[in-house]
Symmetry: C3
Subunit: 343 residues, 3 copies
């Protein structure tokens, strides 16, 4: 990473920050962790457990919580903010636009936009994209290369579809949605009727609706609903290689980590958090704010606020306790055998 950002630009990016120390700095040239930062770098204290590193960092700018006690070294500048991690994110957004400048607005000549697609004048469409009739692409949308937008699909304003995304027919994205590379939205649900010893395909006539401010990770698949819509709620963030079955309803602000599998017709209420590789059997309800540990296997409804682990899933602390007792099983069996003999 090679960047140049001045302290003035940083202060402009981070509102409500208290400045302490050297203000006359050369442009900053990197961002690094406290222990690895060098002269000219920006560093930050995001996790209190690293606070002893602050005094020793060589960083030129250090972003710290408001209540941090300490003094910058000569030539060093402390910025105190409410949320150092987020303040850094704001600085990084300014840097990001330099490192990864968006391509110029316009439609690449190689792309194919059908006549009856509605495409806003402010969009950016990279090479080899194909937009079908009836599709609607809103203001400031950016499609990278090799993107497919199906018939009557909708892409809300300020959304970004990375390379090779497939948004199939009639599916809808809200505003500021990000689909990372290779995402498939609107594949057929996995449903078959067994008729005369053949698995007959059940048509999936529904769609997928993805609300505002959702991000979907690379190569994740979201199947279309049988009748209505598979739905991903506002502000939910889904990681890479996740499977979301037909008819699933995900609430708002959920976090779903990589490789999770959610079977058909599962509902998540708002604020659910799911660790990587966890799986959900079909037709379950997961209550508001529930937390599911990585690799858990959920086969029953989950109450609001529950924290579950394991397969079969148990309350988190019980699962930990049983794991400890499992490790003691060899001893238990041995002592029981002695007991048995002596009795």
């Amino acid at each position: 990473m090679s960047i140049e950002i001045t302290l003035d630009e940083i202060l402009k990016a981070v509102p409500n920050c208290d400045v302490d120390g050297e203000m006359d700095l050369l442009p900053l040239v990197g961002v690094a962790s406290l222990d690895k930062a060098q002269l000219g770098d920006i560093a930050f204290l995001g996790n209190p457990k690293y606070k002893d590193q602050v005094a020793f960092t060589a960083a030129s700018v250090v972003i710290l919580p408001k209540d941090f006690i300490g003094f910058p070294k000569d030539g060093q500048c402390y910025l105190r903010v409410e949320n150092p991690s987020y303040a850094l994110a704001l600085v990084c957004r300014a840097i990001e636009e330099r490192l990864f400048p968006p391509p110029p607005i316009g439609i690449h000549s190689s792309s194919c936009i059908e006549n009856e697609a509605l495409v806003d004048d402010s969009v950016t469409i990279g090479p080899f994209c194909y937009i079908e009739n009836g599709a609607e692409i809103g203001a400031n949308v950016r499609l990278a290369s090799h993107v497919y937008v199906g018939a009557f699909a909708k892409v809300g304003a300020d959304s970004r579809l990375c390379n090779g995304v497939k948004l199939l027919s009639r599916c809808e994205l809200g505003e500021r949605v990000i689909l990372n590379a290779g995402v498939v939205v609107g594949s057929d649900g996995y449903g078959f009727d067994n008729v005369a010893e053949k698995h007959e395909k059940i048509p999936h006539l529904g769609t997928v609706v993805i609300e505002d401010d959702v991000e979907i990770g690379a190569n994740t698949c979201i199947d279309r609903s049988r009748f209505a819509a598979t739905r991903i709620g506002e502000g939910t963030k889904i990681d890479n290689l996740v499977q979301i079955g037909h008819n699933v309803i995900i609430g708002k602000r959920c976090l779903v980590v990589a490789q999770v599998g959610i079977s058909g017709s599962v509902s998540f209420e708002d604020d659910v958090i799911v660790g990587g590789q966890a799986g959900f059997a079909g037709h379950l309800n997961v209550g508001k704010g529930a937390k599911i540990a990585a690799q858990a296997g959920i086969t029953k409804n989950v109450e609001a606020g529950a924290f579950l682990k394991g397969n079969p899933a148990l309350p988190y602390s019980l699962a930990l306790r049983i794991a400890v007792l499992n490790r003691k099983l060899p001893d238990l069996f041995k002592r029981f055998a002695e007991f048995d003999e002596s009795s």
Copy 2:
């Protein structure tokens, strides 16, 4: 979903159905579950547990099992059939063609078909497809956009390859095969020889053969064989994000749910059913009709008809019983400790 289908068209789609009630209906405009259906909708009773909802549904057409006892309301029509779920699927197929009309036959001008590819006149090939020399594309095949068909690969009649599918060199699809978006067929098997402390790549000279009526889910990967063919048997249905290793043989009519991983050289006999996220170690045989629960880890051969769960996998009912006993371990340890003290 917004559709228009008349009762006459429905009756044409569903053979052998008994009609009861109002026949003079306006065109039907939607399909919904019994409890959510409104005037003008089609609903159906697929699962007996919902049968009490039938009397209260507002649907105009209700598809019911032959032995259902009850009477339609004024203006409502009951259709009694052998298999309501499949009857609905037949209705939905008629609707599907209106909602998702296939593109017109022909080859999009942007696509690139090498001179020595054999492409039937009746195919539909979307934009940005690339078909290599020696490839054969049968009658009525539909390729969506961004599809790749490698050298000497074969696509049987009436097959459908969705957006971004990669069918690599020499791999073969039977008739009526569906590959959902992003599927990779024929990637190199994962095999290396350790020579002088380097992992040397083992060439994979074989292919993948996918038989008639197979469906493969989005972003699933099927590796080519080392010598012969990785094979997916007739009528088998594979879900999204599944991994199928080199040399694997899957029998007929198997069901493999999302995110399952099948290591190299595993064989499934016919009618095997595998729940999501289950995994199979290499070189195993899974007997006819075996059922494997979600997230199971299979490390030994599986007998025909077995039903296994867990890792290590156990007979399903034993696995459930041990899970119950695990939950009682805290109590057992406590009682044993009391015992030990008192003795």
Copy 3:
């Protein structure tokens, strides 16, 4: 598989081999396992457990370990080598170039190479590729169709990017790297700050660096780092559908089997081996040469040389023992209940 390779060509491909038996053979036409090989085929003894099959194989050429005792039949030729599996791999490489001939050098007219990309004259670029400004493509690189190479990304000499690969901006590949179809390198890391009850996206300004001789399996995703580089060490081989989070560092010569999930900021030292579907929580260190069984869940640092299994992960033999004792729990509970009653 239909090939033609003469014994002379085989001897040229395999150095240091002892020939015994018939030298005057017709060209060999296939490679098969000992039990399935027919006249005209090549077979090999890779695993000693099949050694009794050697006397009965119909293969015309049999590749055997140096110390194999036995005599070829009439018209049969034995080749004795240090490593029969690798010797066969060398023969197969010669065959591979005939079965899957590389396309001719040059850039397909449909592809789009930006003016300020640096592309070596010796490259092969298939149809519908897009190479952004600042990208560098080294000597003898082969890009299949539909490949994307982002701005300032680098592809080292002799690397091969299969169909639909996305190598995003500023990411770097060493020499002889293979990215199978659908791989995504450089997607955004999964990181959010919770600000005013919204998940605010954390920019990921770093890159991905993939060192020499790495192979990555189909549809695998590797996220870019927050600041520095997510890194895959020299000679490491990663299978299909693997998730590698932001800031992960993988050492040299590691083997990572399909569908493994590695959370952000995990470090693997060299020679780590991970079975399929295993998962790693964030910020862990995995010591040199550690082995992790399939489906394990790793939540703590792993010592060098450890061999772990299960979730929570335990030393392999302890995990097996506890699994055995779990199967005995019904008996233990029963005996304890009897005990309890009788006391």
